[in-house]
């Protein structure tokens, strides 16, 4: 029953995000701040992880290609496919569930604990719209982050391959361009948009509806990370089955 209640409350919250909108003059700086916090603030860690994981994928692929009849360009091909199809949209989204999700849950949860949300409600403000809508809009720029992750992942693979002595640049680039299917990009970005929605709303839900004090803010952040990750994985499976299966 609790799960059903939580799911119902979550969907009511989704509806309330778009109800009684806050004045644009107030909303605009909130959106810009959330773009800075959630998108720009995540670029560093996303770039770092993407570059090195791209490198590791290239090295692992190369080391596992023991048969001499397998062409060397397969390293670039496998790296591209792994990065575009799964690593960038899904793996980065799980990392973002930890970084951005915890930030959203703890910031909204702290506002709940310190009665700032009550203050908004007493003033007659739609607190859900005021708090969650800017995050939702900011995360519509999430595909921009994933594009950077894709580029840097493939670049990391190239660097590891060439400078680690696992293959030549020509082989790698040939593999990267081999049998390119544009729909794979569309599939990746459809997933990215859905994950962005989950990243904005699930942590907001756990922050907004939390009860208790400072300790519960920490617990809510952890729960939010777990459920966002679980839902990213489930939705990833469903979308992959629907779009590529």
């Amino acid at each position: 029953m609790t799960y059903l209640h939580n799911i119902g409350t979550y969907f009511i919250m989704i509806k309330d995000i778009f109800r009684r909108p806050t004045k644009w003059s107030v909303m605009k700086p909130l959106i810009l701040k959330d773009i800075d916090d959630l998108i720009i603030g995540s670029l560093g860690i996303v770039a770092f992880i993407s570059f090195f994981v791209g490198g590791v994928v290239a090295i692992q692929t190369s080391l596992n290609m023991t048969s001499p009849i397998m062409p060397k360009y397969l390293v670039g091909f496998a790296t591209r496919q792994s990065i575009i199809l799964e690593f960038a949209p899904t793996f980065i989204s799980i990392i973002m569930a930890g970084k951005v999700g915890s930030f959203i849950t703890s910031s909204i949860g702290t506002m709940r604990v310190t009665e700032q949300i009550d203050a908004l409600e007493v003033m007659g403000i739609n607190a859900i719209n005021y708090l969650v809508f800017p995050k939702f809009i900011a995360l519509t720029l999430y595909p921009f982050v994933i594009s950077i992750a894709m580029f840097l992942g493939i670049l990391g693979g190239l660097m590891a391959c060439v400078y680690g002595g696992y293959g030549t640049m020509e082989d790698y680039l040939e593999g990267v361009q081999l049998d390119f299917i544009p729909f794979h990009f569309i599939y990746a970005f459809i997933k990215t948009f859905v994950f962005a929605f989950l990243l904005a709303t699930i942590p907001s839900y756990y922050g907004y509806f939390m009860k208790g004090g400072a300790l519960e803010v920490g617990k809510a952040s952890t729960t939010s990370f777990v459920w966002t990750s679980v839902l990213v994985i489930i939705v990833n499976f469903l979308l992959t089955s629907l779009l590529l299966g």
Binding site: E115, Q116, D118, A119, M123, G124
Partner: protein, 256 residues
């Protein structure tokens, strides 16, 4: 004026408010007192419209809250100001931005008009030079004054305060009490204060409502509370030797 009739509120199996009827007059400080768990906070949150109640009614100058449309409720809420126990200032905004917030949300004033109003209100609460400070840089007393400034900036008709003196030293607590009373009389606001502070009860309790186990046990003023024989009230208010002495002195003076 706020009129409350037969108010009932429950949480699952717990019946918290068991039929409260009272009224809070305009232009005076109305206090809700009672032991922890007596239902004070729930009552205040019902008055604020934060909790929905099962039975009864609350009328704000003749407007029955539960019968208002969503837009009318929003309009009524814009006429309310609230001072929270922990001040509830927005961490990401400066003191001036906190005070300006209700004006930005509910008025179409220009920035210079809003700045003028913020200056007037901050001056009224004796915070002329704190505009650019962040709430975290302000003391507890300053934060309370900012919260009062934010609550009155949009000229509310109703002011609610939840334990405005908690965590403050006795001198600052008196300053806050006096400020709330002055503002209430100056702007002719209906003010309702939820408090544990006996100094507030004695100093500014023009009307006092005493709750016990979700029921209205007694109501009166800071004058009549000295004379009451109600055991629950005397046990609560005169639980310390100091206040028992004050009461004896008052009654002796009164007898003479």
């Amino acid at each position: 004026m706020i009129e409350v009739k037969d108010l009932h509120k429950s949480f699952e199996d717990a019946h918290i408010l068991k039929g409260i009827s009272t009224s809070f007059e305009k232009g005076q400080t109305n206090l809700i007192i009672g032991q922890s768990g007596s239902g004070k906070t729930v009552f205040l949150k019902c008055l604020l419209g934060l909790f929905e109640y099962e039975e009864g009614s609350i009328s704000y100058e003749g407007r029955n809250f539960s019968k208002l449309s969503r837009n009318e409720k929003t309009e009524l809420r814009s006429e309310m100001g609230m001072v929270f126990q922990g001040s509830a200032l927005f961490d990401s905004m400066t003191i001036a931005e906190n005070v300006m917030f209700p004006l930005r949300m509910f008025t179409k004033q220009s920035m210079s008009e809003m700045e003028d109003r913020v200056n007037i209100v901050l001056k009224r609460v004796n915070l002329d030079n704190a505009h650019k400070k962040m709430p975290s840089e302000a003391s507890g007393g300053m934060q309370k004054r900012v919260a009062i400034a934010r609550a009155i900036v949009n000229r509310p008709k109703f002011l609610f305060c939840d334990e405005p003196n908690s965590g403050l030293d006795p001198k600052t607590a008196i300053v806050i009490d006096n400020l709330i009373q002055e503002i209430t009389e100056e702007f002719d606001i209906t003010t309702v204060i939820n408090t544990h502070d006996m100094n507030s009860v004695m100093e500014i309790g023009k009307k006092i409502v005493f709750l016990k186990d979700g029921l209205l046990e007694w109501e009166g003023s800071n004058k009549t509370i000295f004379k009451t024989e109600n055991e629950a009230v005397t046990n609560f208010v005169y639980s310390s030797e100091l206040f028992r002495k004050v009461r004896r002195m008052y009654l002796e003076e009164d007898a003479q």
